[in-house]
């Protein structure tokens, strides 16, 4: 398995059988293919980081090298001060965190109900949740715009928090239902026999065990909410209320020029939280994304 044995020419006997030229070639091809995928995934990030570190003067000259000649943090400073990009970041954080918490609070009990109680209409509810997951979000835009306008919620956090539930609730409920169904029934039965009430058992006995599932649902919900562009574009009408993705699109935009250094610095900033989530919770996200999706 060591690199040396792969490179060494086939000698005799056992080695010959194991490392034929065809097999070595295929291994090299395999790793080249993987390397290609990794580079294709990550190189564009490198490019925006480089662009975000260029001085305005260098931007004006156009691309002349794969490296920035003078590294400057001024674009980041400019974004965070003059361009007022902190406000949209705070808006995004408030809306996404609130939507995530709200999602967990109402999806966790529902997930429990759908997997652990003998409620009627279970297939109907699960089917409806699935249909809601595929609901075209654009169809919400017109009617909800009118509704929010009439209720004075247009351009406020609650409007966006409620709207984001269309992204988060279906997947979170689905995921938690499948998570609860894997927890041994005996656990809560024992508590019930001991005279604990249903709600108390759920809160004190079942929820702590289900915490990893709840955590996964929260991470996924946050990523999905953080990803939104269309709903924030539609329901946040003044720049002060823009979320980060909407603010980026209007950032440093003048009639004559697009300031890629400013845009890309902001792009780097909003990529960081999700990149960290992926690096530290990859397994969780992947298992959440595929939980109960094909059984």
């Amino acid at each position: 398995m060591s690199a040396a044995s792969e490179v060494a020419p086939p000698r005799a006997g056992r080695a010959q059988r194991r490392i034929t030229p065809g097999k070595t070639g295929r291994r090299i091809g395999f790793f080249l293919l993987l390397a290609l995928f990794v580079v294709a995934s990550l190189f564009p990030f490198y490019w925006i980081v480089v662009t975000s570190l260029k001085t305005p003067g260098e931007i004006a000259k156009g691309t002349t090298s794969l490296l920035p000649s003078h590294v400057t943090w001024s674009n980041y400073a400019n974004d965070l001060t003059q361009q007022n990009f902190i406000r949209p970041l705070v808006n995004s954080a408030i809306v996404c965190v609130s939507a995530t918490i709200l999602t967990v609070i109402i999806a966790a009990p529902a997930g429990y109900a759908l997997s652990r109680t003998r409620m009627r209409g279970r297939p109907l509810v699960l089917g409806f949740i699935l249909v809601a997951a595929f609901f075209p979000v654009i169809a919400m835009v017109g009617p909800m715009f009118i509704a929010y306008k009439r209720t004075g919620l247009l351009d406020t956090y609650p409007a966006l928090i409620i709207s984001y539930l269309i992204y988060t609730l279906p997947i979170a409920t689905w995921l938690l239902a499948s998570y609860f169904s894997q927890i041994p029934k005996e656990l809560e039965e024992a508590a019930l026999v001991d005279g604990s009430t249903r709600l108390r058992t759920l809160r004190k006995i079942v929820m702590p065990v289900a915490l990893p599932g709840v955590f996964t649902a929260a991470i996924l919900s946050f990523i999905l909410a953080w990803n939104d562009f269309l709903l924030a574009l539609s329901f946040m009408t003044t720049p002060n209320m823009y979320t980060a993705p909407v603010a980026i699109v209007s950032l440093g935009q003048s009639q004559y020029q697009v300031f890629y250094n400013l845009i890309d610095a902001a792009v780097v900033i909003i990529s960081i939280p999700v990149a960290l989530l992926v690096i530290f919770a990859q397994r969780r996200i992947v298992s959440g994304l595929t939980a109960g999706s094909f059984r």
């Binding site: 294709a40 609901f135 269309i166 890309d264």
Partner: protein
Amino acid sequence: MTARPDLAAPPGLPARAARRSPHSLLRQDRRFGYLLAAPVVLVLLAITAYPLFYNVWNSFHHVDYLAPPLGGFAGLSNYAKLFTDHQFVPALVHTAGFTVVSVSVETVIGLALAVALSKRFRGRGIVRAAIFIPWAVPTVVSAELWKTMFDPQQGFVNYVLGQLHLPLASTTWLDNTWTAWAAILIADAWRNIPFMAIVLLAGLQVIPNDLYEAAKIDGASAWRTFWRVTMPLLKPALMVALIFRTLSSFLIFDVVYIMTNGGPGTSTQVLTNLNYQAFLIDFDFGYGGAIAVALMIMALLIAAVYVRVFRTEEPA
């Protein structure tokens, strides 16, 4: 379990004990379930069923805020406009074409990637995370990132083409119909191939290893094993991935809005962007409603077709 509760509970016992009988326990259990599930159902109804019916109502009425009076019955005129405004049909053609091409490309490459990632090798976790990051970043990031990459001055693409003395080095990618589509396709594929790969990889991992060993003993080639063992067993995962991707590709908005906003002219106009413009640029909620209704019906049809196709193939 089947004993009638009133028979099971001896007469004369306090009411409390009677309530604990199996029958009322079941009822209690159900009521508990409804109570816990209700908020999700109510919220989802409010944000899906309400817009659905409101769109239907609007689509049959005159609800153009820039051309009052509002609320008059409009018959089918909003639906007729779908075919007379010279925007909807081309947008439908663009969207359908883009969906077919992007989903095909992403499925083939995503499958190859999933097969590669299912092999054991050193550093697999890191490679997986690296490849997975593009899915997790917002679509705004993928759109702005590829807009930078394709920019004639700041972009990497034209720089490399120029360095290698290849043609197209002075292309203004987003200003020409086909090159703009290519840029949109690449931005979309870059973000969604990882999604395809992750879902298919999960599907690959539930295939029992014995089957591969059996195929090996029978002397099946790798190619044959792939088509005869892997593909049939991958079908459930493939269906999930295809439904998700087809619908989200059909409803593409962010990347198009940011990279081209339907331009040059209307040559990259897609249905969702047209719908957005009808709603919040023209404030015509009647026509917007008609587009939204059409979109909802088409989305439902796409899902139904997939379920049908994969169901009928199952017994084979």
